[in-house]
């Protein structure tokens, strides 16, 4: 079995920092949604959502402290998701 069994204890300060980052990103999302960036609007929204998801996965779900195999699996899954979302833009960007 490769998975590590020791616990990772993250300090309250760090968790609070991540929470503040997430709230800030939410505020940015709302701010950006009120600006007209044309086609860029959706890319900015996806980028912010991806950053928020990364913070949650890395620190709240402890991926940052996991083994390489889990990290590769995660990156692979994100890659698949990116391809699927990207392919939708064959439609949306050319309508």
């Amino acid at each position: 079995m490769e998975s590590s069994s020791h616990e990772h204890i993250i300090s309250y300060a760090k968790l609070f920092g991540v929470l503040c980052s997430l709230l800030s990103f939410t505020a940015i999302t709302i701010g950006v949604s009120r600006m007209d960036l044309g086609a860029l609007n959706i890319w900015v929204a996806i980028l912010i959502a991806a950053c928020k998801a990364s913070f949650i996965l890395l620190f709240f779900m402890h991926l940052h402290y996991e083994t390489r195999l889990l990290k590769i699996t995660f990156v692979g899954t994100i890659g698949c998701l990116a391809i699927l979302i990207g392919f939708v833009f064959w439609d949306i960007s050319f309508r």
Partner: protein, 543 residues
């Protein structure tokens, strides 16, 4: 070998007795049998609904049911067939039963999760039934297209939740299989020594794992739309109805490969055994399995050529659709080449497998008609589409399921069945199938839309013949099931390796003991090496 107690006589825990020994079992074989009983139950329900539909369509106007009931019946037929029969069919029954044995393991990696998957499957099925009595039966078709699925007052919410729960069951099975293959494969078995059925389950499990969450979230969005009206798919509020179709088909097209890949795995097992010859192009079949899983996940929008999406997307997805034909054709050529100069032994499983190759090829080729944007526009949403996907789903996955039943039945229950009745059933099913679905292809080319309750007089003859074919096919299915069940009581005892197979499941007793292997399994350097089998047979003939 026969003095070893089988899994049927040994509960997974000695404390469990009677029905509890089944309902609380963690033995992968018993869970496979639980799936078999429940999946065959739903299959019979869905077949009955399908037959009612075709009987209604045999003559113009109302014959059996009104238009509202007709909408509900075709929705339920689709939902049950897709989510409760074809998707779980081969992986949940034969995958559960055989995968650990084929890789030299005594169970799956997460046995309790395996049982939970079955309970989720049952819960999903019950929710589908509940949907019938909560605001009326669903009438959207199995695709739940917006805006109708959001506006209709029928019990779509429960049907959608049922599909969501069934998706969870499917994902858990996928996780279990991937982990089992990685972690519990016997040390002496390398990747290129794995049986092709296991390979097909592995590729399928990845598709299940990566594609199913998209459907699950999309279905929840429908529920959110129905309850909260958030406007995601409503153009009036900045939403996009075509986005729903993208999200739905992002899962539901790969779902076609969740159905067909294990079916291809079954055929890849059967062809070499009854040709007494190593499978042609083992590595090519493995590569094409993975290629189908990958390429098949990128072609979803060919279901949407007339939906109003961009011409660029039509071009890209049409091109990618044609790419999937290449690995599929590699498999067909490999199976046929396996038989070339083989010592062919005709048996019911081989008969079904041969029918699979023919019917799946027709399904694949008619799929190219739909994959080409030009022709697709003419036949989109006609009976041609219905004929095509039944050739793939039923002629492909369904016939492979029947082949698997006949191939592994002696292993699962330790009893043979009556060959003559099996052939009779198989011939009836095949003739009925062709008479049932070929008219649909023709009706579609003539312009008859799908899902219509009534039609123009010129379509009556085709619909009548399709109905006759349906009755012949259902007669064959009933005969097949009765014959198999009779085999349990009257069939001759099956030896450990009744067909002369080379993969590990044929090295254990029939039915297998609780922990599968009596002796340490011996892995061959090549999984389809028939040298020993041929020598044994030659020796027994000389004696």
């Amino acid at each position: 070998m026969t003095d070893v107690q089988s899994y049927l006589e040994t509960p997974s825990s000695p404390n469990l007795k009677g029905i509890r020994a089944w309902l609380l079992t963690t033995d992968h074989k018993r869970i496979g049998i639980l799936y078999m009983i429940s999946i065959l139950f739903w299959f019979c329900i869905a077949v009955t609904l399908g037959l009612l539909l075709r009987t209604e369509l045999m003559a113009e106007g109302k014959t059996l049911m009104g238009s509202e009931t007709y909408n509900a019946v075709f929705t339920l037929h689709g939902v049950i067939m897709v989510f409760l029969f074809i998707i779980p069919g081969i992986p949940a029954i034969f995958g559960n039963f055989l995968l650990p044995i084929q890789i030299g393991s005594d169970d799956v990696f997460f046995p309790r999760l395996n049982l939970l998957s079955w309970y989720l499957y049952i819960f999903g099925g019950i929710l589908a039934v509940v949907s019938l009595f909560s605001g009326g039966p669903p009438d959207t078709g199995w695709t739940f297209y917006v805006p109708f699925s959001i506006q209709t007052e029928s019990g779509v919410t429960f049907t959608v939740l049922a599909a969501f729960i069934l998706g969870m069951s499917s994902m858990l099975t996928g996780i279990n299989f991937i982990t089992t293959i990685h972690r519990l494969r016997i040390k002496t078995m390398g990747w290129m020594q794995m049986p092709l059925f296991t390979w097909s389950l592995y590729a399928t499990a990845w598709v299940q794992l990566l594609a199913t969450p998209i459907l699950s979230i999309t279905l929840l969005l429908i529920v959110a739309e129905r309850i909260f009206g958030i406007g995601l798919f409503d153009p009036g509020r900045g939403g996009d109805p075509i986005l729903y179709q993208h999200l739905f088909w992002m899962y539901s097209h790969p779902a076609v490969y969740i159905m067909i890949l294990p079916a291809m795995g079954v055929v890849s097992e059967i062809m070499p055994v009854f040709s007494r010859k190593a499978i042609f192009g083992y590595k090519a079949i493995v590569s094409s399995t993975l290629a189908i899983a990958i390429a098949g996940s990128l072609v979803w929008a060919h279901h949407m050529f007339t939906s109003g999406m961009s011409d660029t997307a039509v071009f890209v997805f049409s091109l990618l659709t044609f790419v999937v034909a290449i690995p599929s054709a590699i498999k067909v050529f490999s199976w046929v080449s396996t038989m070339y100069k083989g010592s062919i032994l005709m048996t019911p499983p081989l008969f079904f497998a041969l029918c699979f190759i023919y019917l799946f090829s027709v399904g694949g080729l008619t799929g190219l008609v739909l994959g080409a944007a030009g022709t697709n526009i003419h036949v989109h949403d006609t009976h041609f589409v219905v004929g095509h996907f039944h050739f793939v789903m039923f002629g492909g996955a369904g016939f492979a399921f029947f082949a698997a039943l006949h191939f592994w039945w002696p292993k699962m229950f330790g009893r043979m069945y009556n060959f003559r009745n099996a052939y009779r059933a198989a011939i009836l099913i095949t003739i009925g199938f062709i008479l049932h679905y070929i008219p649909m292809l023709i009706l579609g080319l003539q312009g008859m839309p799908r899902r219509y309750y009534n039609y123009l007089p010129r379509f009556e003859a085709g619909n009548f013949f399709a109905g006759i074919g349906g009755f012949i096919m259902v007669t064959g299915i009933m005969l097949m099931l009765v014959n198999l069940v009779q085999g349990l009581r009257k069939g001759a005892p099956a030896v450990g390796n009744p067909w002369g197979g080379t993969t590990l499941e044929w090295s254990v007793p029939s039915p297998p003991p609780l922990h599968n292997f009596v002796d340490q399994p011996s892995v061959k350097s090549y999984p389809y090496d028939f040298t020993d089998i041929i020598q044994q047979q030659a020796g027994s003939k000389q004696v």
